[in-house]
Symmetry: C2
Subunit: 388 residues, 2 copies
């Protein structure tokens, strides 16, 4: 009876063409092309353009805009540009066509950073290979909602569980990993490449299998933009209540949720907290006001002080509470800072304070500034030191 | 000792400006703006453009390209367009500036469909409200990897567990939900809005709490583009081994994984399988070759026949195996098809075959064709009928 079913003979090509309704502007152009020497070739079809530029995060920055370079078109409609040899990293770029910023229509890989979306690619080597999905066992990434009585809301949270977690009875250590201003529970998993870094370091035997908890550090927010009942709105950098003590005060809601819902070693020796910029600020203060909770603390390009008028008593008695944290002992207090970071000076002053009170820390100073390039690298350096 | 820490007084604005390094092309333009009557206003800054068009999936399609409309600029650099009243849905759009396709730089919400990325927005009402994140309890969405001995690889899979799953001892029914050609384990969760549809229908009491399993139906692939060790490559519509019997033959790897890793009711009465286009094809054949496994089957704009030369015996004896499926009994065989779908005719012939052998089915015919608008709607209609 096959003939009844198969009577209308639509060939594969017809099926493909019709099913491609959604494939707007399909083209065979490959862009970017990462060449074997880590130069990268970009291509853009722009028939009527007079000037096409590429803006890349590897070019010298001017204020908060990346540098750019002219693309060339050799008398046809295809504009091309081949970069210098790039550092091994995850890189972002945009095009600018006759002054208008736009994404690369031939690259489907885009990541949002606060209110901007840029195309990305990865150049191999070290550390870039750590940011790639490699042929190793993979952990699970879950987006869940937890109850925060302290904030009187349920809140979205991203959780990485290592390979093997679901098929063992073992208990695991936990790293709490916090984003910066304008970020959210998507920041570390997307731009930060946390799942790839953990998968790869665990497979290499360089990191202990651990759970990584990536909460939303903006306590006025239930979830990342587009993931709450606020719908699709334009994200902004500054939100209320990000550095006013509320995140620190309600952090135990997160630890309670994790320790009641996952097989974890609920013990100081198996808890780490780290964060970038505002998340470093949160990590500093959370580890200090709960001074017997974390054996591992990581401050990545950390802000030290709150901004604006703050009434919370959390930021009083900093030196005394740090001394308590020190007296309770800990295993690692790790500080990373870029040499051109605008927070360099406050970071230096904070280290002076730590020196003064005899609080030991490890310090890594890197090239560059307040960038995801540094934060991915700090995570890659920090994670192998944990829970050993 | 506060003065030591707080000595460098960087105000909030300085922090914001510097921390916005990554905010390329920051602007205060709001686009799109969904107006209260479901007209939508789009805005684009394009100083040097001569002609700016908007392409929207609500405009009449020409082949596999959406229709477009001219935007106007009233003698300044801001181009605007306000649509007619749009149907309630998730909509996609792009701009075309002097002939070059580009995304909306002021809308961070983008979804990939195979090899194209377009901006999206949601218009309220019915069914669009089902596709929004509303203020209801939310399930968990996990990306995991499972072992597929039949394909000799580990493969990525997306799993929705309903609100309350983690905090109960209850066992849950399972819907296996399959994507179409060119799709992957991200298709239903992104364009299909599965998590939102399930959260909302469960909260309204219209759907039973259930687990939804969204596997990758391309058995030559470990994972979606960018999520495997193949790295960042340009996705293509056609992949090998998608409709050659292998997906059907190895489907028990997925059921075994789910039934060993989740608290499920491992029983025909609590298993459903549904899919769109190629996924409808898979659902038809999987439910037929495992004829006592699923009480609920959903074929959304289903392909019926394989394309090209197929040697698998799976596609032999279709009528006989359907009869066995019928004799084993089932509760629901649901078919949805758009009246202008290019697969309409083969679907009609398939229904003729079902009529001939007396195999009962429910049939929903909708406006439009082979579109996500229909597939989201079919899911919303199908899910309330399950496990009752």
């Amino acid at each position: 009876m096959k003939h009844i079913i198969f009577v209308a003979c639509i060939g594969l090509s017809a099926f493909s063409i019709n099913a491609q309704q959604a494939l707007w502007g399909k083209s065979n152009i490959i862009s970017p092309e990462v060449n074997s020497d880590n130069t990268v070739t970009f291509r853009l079809q722009a028939a009527n353009a007079k000037e096409v530029r590429i803006l890349g995060d590897w070019m010298p920055w001017r204020g908060w805009e990346p540098g750019s370079a002219l693309m060339t078109n050799n008398n046809d409609t295809l504009w091309t540009y081949t970069s210098e040899v790039l550092s091994s990293d995850l890189h972002g770029y945009s095009f600018e066509v006759d002054g208008m910023r736009c994404t690369d229509p031939n690259n489907v890989y885009l990541i949002r950073d606060v209110a901007s979306v840029t195309n990305v690619f990865i150049t191999g080597g070290s550390p870039g290979d750590l940011y790639k999905v490699n042929n190793v066992p993979h952990g699970t990434v879950a987006r869940r909602w937890y109850d925060s009585p302290g904030n009187q809301m349920t809140r979205r949270i991203t959780i990485y569980t290592p390979p093997g977690y679901e098929n063992s009875n073992e208990k695991y250590p936990v790293l709490y990993l916090l984003h910066g201003m304008g970020g959210d529970e998507e920041a570390w998993i997307a731009l930060g490449r946390t799942a790839q870094i953990l998968d790869n370091l665990i497979a290499m035997g360089k990191a202990s299998p651990m759970i990584v908890v990536m909460p939303n550090g903006n306590v006025s927010q239930e979830a990342a933009p587009g993931e709450s009942s606020l719908g699709y709105y334009k994200p902004t950098m500054t939100l209320p209540n990000t550095m006013d003590g509320k995140m620190e005060e309600t952090f135990m809601d997160i630890i309670n949720f994790i320790e009641h819902n996952y097989r974890v070693k609920a013990d100081k020796a198996y808890r780490a907290i780290a964060g970038l910029s505002m998340g470093g600020f949160h990590s500093l203060h959370i580890s200090r006001i709960y001074p017997d909770t974390f054996d591992y603390v990581g401050l990545f390009s950390a802000a030290i002080k709150p901004f604006g008028k703050v009434t919370s008593e959390i930021y009083d008695n900093i030196e005394a509470t740090l001394k308590t944290q020190k007296d309770n002992s800990y295993k690692l207090y790790w500080i990373g800072m870029g040499e051109t970071d605008f927070l360099y000076k406050t970071g230096e002053e904070y280290r002076t304070l730590l020196d003064k009170i005899g609080m030991k820390y490890s310090y890594a100073e890197t090239e560059g500034g307040h960038t995801w390039s540094n934060w991915r690298y700090y995570l890659s350096e920090f994670v192998p030191l944990l829970f050993k």
